[in-house]
């Protein structure tokens, strides 16, 4: 029983969420306003991790990241990066796995903004980037918060993908969900209970905070 798997879990969730947030804003913007023909395809691909079992992702990652194959071999030879059994590999896999949880809320935030708002900004001669930064993003704050928190929570709850490509290395890839599985299998119910309770308590608090903020219950404390 140690705090290491729990800390690793939250580190993984934090890194994954931050990178996802940065990438998902332009992606969602494009999905919301583009008229490209490929849009339905991209939209479908973004949603795929919702329906695919994590084992499918894990299986393909294991094969793709393996140094025996083109991608994994190229990465390890030219860049010296080993993605399988490593923290960066988990981050990459988690990003794909949690992508829809970030993109969907932001996308519906963008599409929910009335077009007159954008049109007014265009008429005032603002550039697309300025509009995004000063008009659109401030208007979808709840969506950004929801996306961030859902991706974070979803990464905390990740299991199948990590089980398949992690290799259960303490401090590197042994996240809390794996540690729980491990302890139950070793019949150490006490340790499993410890990790589970901590995860339960923290994720409960995170989700509760989101609902309180988005529901406007905390307005009287800060405006």
């Amino acid at each position: 029983m140690s705090w290491e798997p729990l800390i690793l879990t939250f580190k993984l969730a934090l890194v994954t969420t931050l990178i996802l947030l940065v990438l998902s804003i332009p992606l969602s913007y494009w999905l919301a306003y583009s008229k490209a023909r490929a849009k339905p395809i991209i939209q479908t691909l973004v949603s795929m991790p919702l329906v695919l079992p994590p084992t499918v992702l894990g299986f393909y990652f294991l094969i793709a990241f393996s140094p025996n194959n083109a991608l994994g071999g190229w990465l390890s030879e030219t860049l010296g990066i080993q993605l399988v059994f490593s923290f960066p590999g988990l981050v990459l896999a988690s990003m794909l796995y949690s992508l829809p949880f970030m993109v969907h809320p932001i996308l519906s935030g963008f599409t929910g903004i009335h077009t007159s708002l954008r049109e007014a900004a265009v008429l005032m001669g603002k550039s697309k980037f300025e509009i995004l930064l000063h008009v659109l993003l401030p208007n979808i704050k709840p969506a950004l918060l929801t996306g961030t928190v859902l991706s974070f929570a979803h990464t905390v709850g990740e299991f199948g993908v990590v089980l398949m490509i992690g290799g259960n290395i303490p401090g590197k890839t042994k996240v809390a969900s794996i540690a729980i599985y491990d302890e139950v299998e070793a019949l150490n119910y006490g340790a499993a209970n410890f990790y589970s309770l901590v995860l339960f308590a923290i994720t409960f608090c995170i989700l509760l905070t989101v609902y309180l903020i988005n529901g406007g219950y905390l307005k009287k404390f800060w405006k």
């Binding site: 059994f85 070793a186 019949l187």
Partner: protein, 254 residues
């Protein structure tokens, strides 16, 4: 009125589903540790041919199967990769008779590269980035692998390379996909086509690790089920089964 009769119908339906044992009566559920995955298929087929009792196989790691049995999983027999878990079930009153050793497992060093012959010294090479073994905490083949590393005084120098499969099957999966360049596994699994065609293996000196005594135990407390379970229990000690086990790389009492 309609609602009550509807409810009664539903209840009746479920009660019918609940007590319909005829289709299950000639079946036996075997909980099997993953190193036995391939040999057990042949043994179970022979058993069914001899006795007419069909077998359902549940393959997982010994630890997980034991945890499931302790929580009431409907298994009839546990074939574990060690004696610890069967012993624990017996001590907790979940088994009618003490477990017995049915075979001794052997550990091998396996390289998924057809051009390399695996040797212990290779583990120290820089080209070996990951060494796969089963989780020593829950899988007997994993703890045996740790003992071998300790025996060769290599554990500290290769510890950072170790990656842990959930059980022997996942350990093999790490190696067959090339994600790990070498690893420790059960001899009983390297004869399968996907592993035998692709790589080479080295049998490790049996003095370098504690013998992997694999135990069988009957589980459950219903006497009616025990007759079928006992039939299988006896069958695994028959010459026929022991011959199959030997063919798959186990050593047996002769």
């Amino acid at each position: 009125m309609f609602r009550i009769s509807y409810l009664l119908w539903v209840l009746l339906l479920f009660s019918q589903l609940g007590c319909n044992p005829s289709s299950k009566s000639q079946r036996l559920t075997l909980a099997v540790s993953s190193n036995m995955q391939f040999s057990i298929e042949e043994i179970a087929a022979r058993f069914t041919a001899t006795t007419g009792i069909e077998c359902d196989l549940v393959v997982a790691s010994s630890g997980k199967l034991t945890a499931q049995i302790m929580e009431g999983a409907p298994f009839d027999v546990l074939l574990s990769a060690d004696m610890k878990y069967p012993q624990m079930l017996f001590q907790n009153g979940m088994a009618p008779a003490a477990p017995k050793v049915y075979a001794y497992g052997q550990l091998v060093l396996y390289s998924p590269n057809a051009n390399t012959d695996p040797k212990m010294e290779m583990l120290l090479k820089d080209s070996i980035v990951h060494i796969a073994l089963a989780n020593p905490k829950t899988a007997p083949y994993g703890s045996a692998a740790m003992e071998v590393l300790e025996h060769h005084a290599m554990l500290d120098s290769v510890r950072h390379k170790l990656v842990y499969g959930e059980n022997v099957s996942q350990t093999n999966q790490f190696m067959v996909t090339g994600a790990a360049q070498i690893g420790f596994t059960a001899k009983s699994t390297v004869f399968t086509p996907s592993m035998a065609n692709q790589g080479n293996w080295l049998a490790l000196d049996s003095n370098s690790y504690t013998p992997i005594a694999q135990g069988i135990v009957m589980v459950g407390t219903k006497t009616k089920e025990h007759q079928k379970a006992e039939a299988f229990y006896n069958f695994i000690f028959s010459d026929e089964s022991q011959k199959i086990l030997k063919k798959y790389g186990y050593s047996v009492n002769e």
